[in-house]
């Protein structure tokens, strides 16, 4: 019996440890509660902790401006500890116990998929700030990160162009999970459609946290020695990036010869790397810290002041969180209430300024319009923008590249369509296969 008690005590201890910051949930009528659902412990803490701080910063700024609807905003921070079932649990807690008006959170697609049923059942709103694989549009989710056509496809277009080096041979290097798998499916189809031969595409998957890249990098080198300009499109996630780039630098792969364009490497990831040997490798995002606009400068200054450290970087998901929060504020002001249905009705079509000098408009498919920027890694760990789309690109929930998604639309405003997967051929709402 004592043994069991001790095990139970150990588990409780573990649980207490993994819950990093549990804000007190005091109910008060003169505040509007906002849920922040980001992992503060476990493997995803590396990325998500910054977003939690960003949300606290944005809420703080809004309160300084007098709050919302005459009330103060009150953040409710929970820690789902990088564990997908815990995400659903914590989301339920936020909505039904804390009665938050909206939730800002999640990073991985697995966590988003885990909380989806909760948001549908309890009818609340999730603002999701990370670039993802697309193939989804839900009534209760506002996607403020990039869809594949706002990141992956323009990046490939750039590399195919003369400016990008007229790349003819492609390595799709990826971590083995849903985002890279779907993105690669779309990219492979896109490349084949653009006349790239099957043998000029190499797709490779590695496990999470992979650290021994010797064989892979040597294989990339070999693949690149076929006499055609080669590039690597990397959807390598998280911790596996640092060893990958270290191996690239050591095996002497220069960006002039085989450039790597990454979709998951931003300023935050670079700050943990020695970038002197990585100059010239690329990343595709909708925002870079180095973009020189007054809005961005104000945002960075405010962030540094809030966090008390002027070395902290900003990154793309932070901008997405910024846009998402401002959209929500504007929608609540327009609707005059924080009621979910009223806010969802008000929010579509609203525009707020983004940080790169344009505006982000929320489309009926719950995705945003975004500019696409290609940045080059610099020795100081920042990106220099070398190319960008002339105009903002509207986010496409269902990729036009995939044959099974042809003619599928998402539209949450149309009284007839009004769904996330509308088949224009059958003229009916269908479910994704």
């Amino acid at each position: 019996m004592t043994g069991v008690d001790r095990i139970a005590a150990g588990l409780v201890l573990g649980a207490i440890v993994s819950v990093g910051a549990l804000a007190p949930a005091v109910a008060a009528d003169d505040t509007i509660k906002v849920g922040v659902l980001h992992s503060l412990s476990g493997t995803m803490a590396i990325s998500e902790t910054t977003l939690k701080d960003t949300m606290l910063f944005l809420i703080d700024e809004q309160n300084k401006k007098g709050g919302l609807l005459g009330k103060k905003l009150e953040p409710v921070v929970v820690d789902p500890a990088s564990d997908w079932p815990t995400f659903a649990e914590k989301a339920r807690e936020l909505i039904s116990q804390d009665h938050v008006a909206a939730v800002f959170g999640c990073w991985t697609s697995s966590s988003r998929k885990s909380v989806l049923p909760v948001f549908k059942e309890l009818n609340s709103i999730l603002f999701y700030p990370v670039q993802y694989e697309g193939e989804e549009s839900e009534k209760n989710v506002i996607y403020t990160g990039a869809a594949p056509n706002q990141q992956a496809i323009p990046a490939v277009d750039y590399l195919m162009s003369e400016d990008g080096g007229s790349v003819k041979r492609w390595v799709l290097e990826a971590t083995d999970y849903v985002y890279p798998r779907t993105t690669n499916k779309i990219l492979e189809q896109y490349l084949l459609d653009h006349g790239v031969a099957k043998e000029d595409i190499r797709i490779n998957y590695t496990p999470f946290g992979f650290s021994d890249w010797q064989t892979e990098v040597a294989a990339i080198k070999e693949f690149g020695s076929a006499g055609k300009k080669t590039a690597v499109v990397s959807t390598i996630n998280g911790d596996a990036n640092v060893p990958f780039y270290k191996e690239l630098a050591n095996q002497g792969i220069k960006a002039e010869d085989i450039p790597v364009v990454a979709f998951s490497v931003g300023e935050e990831e670079l700050s943990g790397m020695d970038t002197t040997n990585l100059v010239g490798h690329l990343a595709a995002w909708n925002y870079f810290e180095s973009v020189d606009t007054p809005e961005n400068k104000a945002f960075i200054d405010g962030w540094h002041k809030f966090i008390g450290n002027d070395k902290r970087t900003t990154n793309d998901p932070m901008e997405a969180a910024y846009i998402g929060f401002n959209l929500w504020v504007k929608a609540v002001e327009k609707a005059g209430t924080t009621d979910t249905d009223a806010v969802l009705k008000a929010i579509v079509g609203l525009s707020v300024p983004n940080l790169t000098g344009g505006t982000a408009t929320l489309l009926p498919n719950h995705h945003l319009t975004k500019p696409v920027l290609i940045g080059e890694v610099q020795a100081d760990g920042q990106f220099d923008v070398v190319w960008q789309t002339k105009d903002v690109v509207p986010g496409d929930a269902w990729s036009d590249v995939l044959p099974e998604d042809k003619g599928i639309e998402a539209d949450w405003t149309d009284p007839i369509k009004g769904c996330g997967h509308y088949d224009t051929a059958k003229q009916a709402c269908t479910t994704a296969p």
């Binding site: 043994g3 001790r6 095990i7 150990g10 201890l13 573990g14 440890v17 993994s18 990093g20 503060l40 412990s41 803490a45 590396i46 902790t49 910054t50 400016d163 990008g164 080096g165 490779n204 998957y205 590695t206 496990p207 946290g209 992979f210 650290s211 021994d212 010797q214 064989t215 892979e216 040597a218 294989a219 070999e222 020695s225 076929a226 006499g227 055609k228 911790d239 640092v242 270290k246 191996e247 630098a249 050591n250 095996q251 002497g252 960006a255 002039e256 010869d257 450039p259 935050e268 990831e269 700050s271 943990g272 790397m273 020695d274 040997n277 010239g280 080059e376 020795a379 220099d384 070398v386």
Partner: protein
């Protein structure tokens, strides 16, 4: 009419003279040409680079190098192009042509001149052409290599001049290859081209293969069989080398596994403590390296190259002390209760991770890689990176030192005595609690050493240890609990098997297969490769 004609001729002549003026100045790059680098977009910059290169002025080389390295800026106040180097929070400025000191400027007063990979490639070629006759060996070698990369037929004469004067065999071989590649591109005779193909094929490396594969589509039909034969010959050669290369990769992976696991071979293998916090000891060692580098950077920047050498004893001492504290504080109360030890050390690993996360932040910390650990060395067809080679050497040293400690020192004797028969050792006058603490401290200290090595190939983040804990247990159990030689052989065989499977099955499936094989092996031999014999194994 005649006067008008004369006048027209006069105007034309004047135009010619005007047009020729830049041509007269061609031996000297001037400030206007340099300032043109800062204007317009990439196409204009490309033209400005071409103008500078056309002068042939040697002073252009450092300017282009600065541009390529991202150190060339436009001063906003007067539009002058300057070379800037970071000096504290401001930039120290230098005149690009004369190298004169131009004082300092704040970051906001300067505009960085942007550059992309295409331009970087062009600059590399240009610098190659301009420095091919340099007296410095390293400069000449990199010049020859960049000439080879583009193999522009216009450089043919320059190359032949350089080749005639070259005495260094390595540079000469690169130049000959470049020459052959250019011959293949020009309309030389079939015989010349055939000879060129032989030269290229004779090089037998990957560069040569790239050249031949590209040539396959461009050479006349009569030469295609020669090219194909060359490709086949190189491929056969590379095939042989690839076996050796896989072996080298495997040994390298094995050495990393050995380092990560060898501390556990002591705490788990020798002492029998299921130590789930082992990975966190590795992580702490990595953070010690980071802290050592930060301290050196502020107090002794000159010693940065040797930061790792300093970090080795620091990490060993720190993690060793943490290990002793853990043993005295927690583990000694739990001897003989493996389930509770497992839970306690697992909880401890979470506490340590979150503590590091609170102190250093959740993001990765940058650890600088010393110059002597970057790049790679080629041995025939083998490419071995320096950092991996050093880690291998380090792993062997750590292993040898541990063997010495365990077999040749009084502490080692006492450790073995206590783990084999605690009561008897105690009866002989050995202070068993002291030995327990020392043994656990030793195991933890060695884990810290692994952390120092891992900073060179992996992240320094709170999650670092988690990636290695499963592999470490796998190695120790597979090799045979309680036997350091077993750990060595286990680590190397897992590493090599992994690397031979990866090219065929991919990294994901390869790992699964290894895991299944080890499970099957443990079914057959529950005590691992090298089982301890005798009474000690039965508790």
């Amino acid at each position: 009419m005649a006067t008008r004609l004369l006048r027209l001729i006069g105007v034309l002549l004047a135009c010619l003279v005007l047009a020729a003026t830049p041509a007269l100045a061609q031996s000297q790059a001037n400030a206007a040409m340099v300032d043109a680098l800062g204007q317009g977009g990439f196409p204009q910059r490309e033209a400005a680079i071409a103008t500078l290169v056309a002068t042939g002025d040697a002073r252009v080389v450092p300017i282009l190098q600065a541009l390529s390295d991202g150190n060339l800026y436009t001063r906003i106040s007067d539009g002058k192009v300057v070379i800037a180097a970071k000096a504290g929070s401001a930039f120290a400025l230098k005149g690009p042509l004369d190298g004169s000191e131009l004082g300092t400027a704040a970051a906001g007063d300067l505009d960085k001149i942007k550059i992309n990979n295409g331009l970087r490639g062009k600059i590399r070629t240009a610098i190659g052409q301009m420095t091919l006759l340099s007296t410095d060996r390293a400069t000449r070698l990199s010049a020859a290599q960049s000439i080879l990369k583009t193999a522009d037929p216009t450089t043919f004469e320059l190359l032949q001049t350089a080749l005639a004067a070259e005495t260094d065999p390595q540079i000469k071989s690169v130049m000959e290859l470049a020459e052959a590649v250019i011959v293949l591109k020009t309309d030389a005779t079939l015989e010349q081209k055939r000879a060129a193909i032989q030269t290229v094929a004779g090089h037998g490396d990957r560069d040569a293969l790239t050249v031949l594969t590209a040539a396959l589509t461009t050479v006349p039909d009569a030469l295609k069989p020669d090219v194909q034969a060359g490709i086949d010959a190189i491929n056969r050669q590379l095939q042989l080398w690839s076996v050796a290369q896989n072996l080298a990769y495997g040994v390298s992976l094995g050495s990393v596994l050995l380092l990560a696991a060898i501390g556990l071979a002591i705490t788990f293998g020798v002492m029998g403590v299921i130590n789930m916090a082992h990975g966190e000891m590795v992580m702490l060692g990595a953070y010690v390296t980071f802290v050592v580098q930060q301290l050196l950077q502020s107090y002794a920047p000159g010693a940065m190259e040797w930061s790792l050498v300093i970090a080795v004893p620091a990490a060993f001492l720190f993690t060793g002390l943490v290990g002793i504290a853990i043993e005295r504080g927690i583990i000694r109360w739990l001897y003989g209760r493996p389930l509770e030890t497992l839970l306690a050390t697992w909880g401890l690993s979470l506490i340590l991770q979150q503590a590091v996360r609170s102190i250093f932040g959740p993001t990765n910390r940058p650890v600088l890689i010393p110059q002597w650990m970057t790049g790679q060395v080629s041995l025939g067809g083998l490419d071995i990176t320096w950092n991996r080679l050093w880690i291998l050497v380090f792993a062997i040293l750590v292993f040898a030192a541990l063997q010495l400690v365990l077999n040749r020192t009084p502490l080692g004797l006492q450790m073995r005595a206590v783990t084999q028969n605690r009561r008897m050792a105690s009866a002989m006058g050995i202070r068993t609690p002291f030995v327990d603490a020392m043994t656990f401290g030793l195991g933890s200290g060695v884990a810290g050493l692994a952390g120092v090595a891992l900073t060179q190939i992996d992240n320094v983040s709170p999650n670092l240890g988690q990636g290695y804990i499963i592999d470490s247990f796998m190695v120790v159990v597979f090799g045979g609990v309680g036997n350091l030689w077993g750990t060595l052989i286990g680590a190397l065989s897992i590493g090599v098997a992994n690397k031979f499977m990866e090219p065929y099955f991919g990294a994901v499936l390869g790992k699964i297969i290894i895991l299944v094989l080890i499970i099957l092996f443990i079914q057959r031999r529950p005590r691992g490769l090298f089982a301890l014999k005798g009474r000690a194994v039965e508790p």
